[in-house]
Amino acid sequence: MSSTNLPSEKFRLGMLLSDTRYRGTSLQVITFIIFVAVFFWLVDNTLKNLALLGKDVSFAFLGMRAGYDINQRLIPYTNDSTHAMAAFVGILNTLLCAFVGCIIATIVGVFVGILRLSKNWIVAKLMSVYIEGFRNVPVLLWIVMVFALLTEFTPAPKAFKGANPEATMFLFDSIAITNRGTYLPAPVWGQGSTFLIIIFLISVLAVIFFIRYAKELKKNTGRNMPSFWISIGILIVPTVLFYFILGKPVELNYPYLKGFNFKEGIHLRNSFIALTLALAFYTSAFIAEIVRSGILAISKGQTEAAASLGMKPNKIMSLIILPQALRVIVPPLISNYLNLTKNSSLAIAVGYMDVRGTLGGITLNQTGRELESMLLLMGFYLSVSLFISSIINWFNRSFQIVVR
């Protein structure tokens, strides 16, 4: 008769380290003790240091008067506002730069990535030069270079003066690029513009419903609709129609020269443009590589199989290649958005007031609350990062290839 019992051995202390049954647990206990000890050591040091400096940990400074101006702001802010408000202005500036930067980076990146796969030798090489050039030079250098380009090589506002000016505005006198920034026409929301916006939003909804309906129809009957043109029509026609019916409620306010500077219009500062463009071009080089590898990752057999089913080239691209390539492209694309957002903290190099410039810069220096400011700043970046990685996880979950 055979026994299935394990050979019983008396427990010895050495077995905690040598026996694989206990080693895992004892290692974890040791690690945990060390971790907790280091943590308490750090906290203890911090408390001692704060006591030495006569400081306490308090976030009350957020409610105090900030006392400094921020030249670029999306919401009303004066130097009488609180530090919390200044931080919020900074956060909005960071998000604005990140948002615009991501859009430009995606457009340029997709364009460059596809062109790099072009059979045209010279275009492909040109795109390689673009990608390698941007990827292998520090982004900080790109930021200061674009800033120098904008401030040194653009005309001063006074160059637009006179009957025969040295510089002229672009697009029917609506855009002025100067060394103090770029001036764009600003929309003026007159009476009835709210109604117009509502009309536009309704037509956006209508387009969404229409596309759903077209898909359903295609699924059930196999009939194709010219959905692209119909959607464009639904999107534009009612808004344009009501724009004229309501008597042009939205007008553009053009920038014009007054004294030595431009007045009215939207003023985009060079710091913002330089930061956004440099980050966008830098990131677009990475996005281009992602797009290229995503398209190359789809095996040629997929294209051939689709072609042998009798699909047309544009259908092959939109129904076979792109859905599969997107699964490869989107997660690293989103993490590049995150990189761009984090890199926007380099704003200080050109004097753009992002959240690191307000909360982690002037507020920190004025109040001397290094610990609290840095904690809040890291908290902000961490929550943006967690938000973005939760999007990636959601994407991966919902678009995974379903395996039996």
């Binding site: 895992g24 290692l27 974890q28 945990f32 911090t46 704060l50 045209n120 290094e370 840095m374 990062s385």
Partner: protein
């Protein structure tokens, strides 16, 4: 039998393809002008290249190298580059504020750097690997100076520890882990009690020392290389450990690793550098104040270790589960199977990602200019603050960009070479 007037006995030799299908013309037709759209793209690109070069080449080619100031350059010819700033300040761009009579030290360090990299890059020279091992200590001594024994004592201590482990293993205690713990304790005791006396004694016996240079004088490309190389060397093993920790089935270790990686990856490097320069003094016992370059190196290392961990984790996840199971069924222990089976394959898969992390780290060394260390970009603004060179931009930026481009592009080319060399499945 019929009589044929003519029977061809040999086949006609193939006639050459039409001239427009082969050679240069054929290539151009196929690659540049295959359709009207392609032709348009080609012409447009050519035009674009033309307008870029038409300004750049005369600007760069005719540049002045010998002027004393930007004004002098402008007087000579305002339309060409003024590389005189590089001629006048190249030493600063390379060495920062390092004492001028000691320039040979960073230069020698750089030469040794290349020599010490060769055994790692090319397996043919692997027998010189000992030099790569002693290089870090040598570099620190050459750059910062002081007595050679204060660095050498670290090596002596490590050799002492290894020796004690070997002696213990041959002794009565059989357990490796107990022996390892004992020898670590012995080494720590050596560093705590014996090392300072021994250093003094050796310095007295064989006095070899260099004048001390403080960290704030390090700058320029030397600083980038110091931070970059030490970050790369240190972050690689830490990254491997973090990746293994994250894959581990021990929940507490896994939690600590995940927390660390996600925290570091979630915040910009700039905030970490600010922690290093402003906040670190809060976390250490009152009165401690250690070297700013070392602080920066630690932060950069931790930062890229987290990214490295994610890259290596990707490599680990790319391995089929069968590899783990096969090595376990051969009876290999955890560390044996990691060392012999898993890691070599996982690292091979993740070479592109690892090198990308290295490149990113090296580029990120420029961020130290924001906490007012003098890296090349920081120095560019210092040089521009000089009245002689006030208003100069492109010459400096092009030079700095080119230096970074050469290093980073070189790294990416090497990684492609390595990938091709290690490709065993094709």
């Amino acid at each position: 039998m019929k009589n044929y007037a003519y029977v061809r006995e040999k086949s006609i030799p193939p006639s050459p393809p039409p001239l427009i299908e082969v050679g240069v013309i054929g290539w151009i037709r196929q690659n540049l002008f295959s359709s009207w759209f392609n032709s348009f793209l080609t012409l447009f690109s050519l035009y674009f290249i033309f307008i870029c070069l038409i300004d750049f080449i005369p600007w760069a080619w005719g540049g002045h190298w010998n002027a004393k100031s930007l004004r002098e350059c402008m007087d000579l010819d305002p339309n060409v580059a003024c590389f005189s700033v590089l001629a006048a300040r190249w030493e600063q761009l390379l060495f920062g504020l390092y004492p001028a009579d000691q320039y040979w030290r960073p230069t020698l360090t750089f030469v040794f750097l290349i020599l010490s990299i060769i055994p790692i890059l090319f397996p043919r020279f692997f027998r010189y690997f000992w030099f790569s091992v002693i290089y870090p200590g040598l570099a620190i001594w050459l750059l910062w100076g002081g007595s050679i024994w204060s660095i050498a004592i670290i090596y002596i201590g490590v050799i002492f520890g290894v020796a004690s482990f070997t002696v213990l293993s041959k002794g009565v205690i059989r357990s490796t882990s107990v022996n390892l713990t004992l020898s670590i304790v012995i080494t720590l005791l050596f560093f705590l009690f014996l090392s300072s006396t021994l250093t003094e004694f050796l310095s007295y016996l064989i006095p070899i020392s260099l004048p001390f240079v403080e960290s704030l004088r390090m700058g320029g490309f030397t600083l980038s290389l110091i931070v970059g190389i030490s970050g790369i060397v240190a972050s690689f093993p830490i990254g491997i450990l973090l990746a293994l920790g994250r894959q581990s089935n021990l929940p507490i270790i896994k939690m600590i690793c995940v927390g660390f990686i996600e925290f570091i990856r979630g915040v910009p490097l700039i905030t970490l550098l600010f922690v290093a320069s402003v906040l670190l003094n809060y976390f250490l016992p009152p009165g401690t104040n250690f070297d700013i370059v070392l602080r920066v190196v630690i932060m950069v290392t931790l930062f890229s270790a987290a990214y490295m961990a994610e890259v290596i984790r990707g490599g680990l996840a790319g391995l089929p589960l069968g590899q783990h199971e096969a090595s376990a069924s051969l009876g290999l222990t955890y560390w044996q199977s990691q060392r012999l089976i898993i890691m070599p394959q996982a690292l091979k898969i993740s070479i592109p990602g690892i090198v990308n992390t290295f490149i990113g780290l090296f580029k990120d060394t420029t961020l130290v200019s924001i906490i007012s260390l003098r890296d090349p970009i920081g120095l560019a603004s210092t040089i521009r603050a000089d009245t002689k060179w006030n208003g100069i931009y492109w010459e400096l930026y092009v030079a700095i960009g080119l230096m970074f481009f050469i290093v980073c592009f070189g790294m990416s080319q090497y990684s492609q070479y390595l990938e091709r060399k290690l490709q065993t499945d094709k």
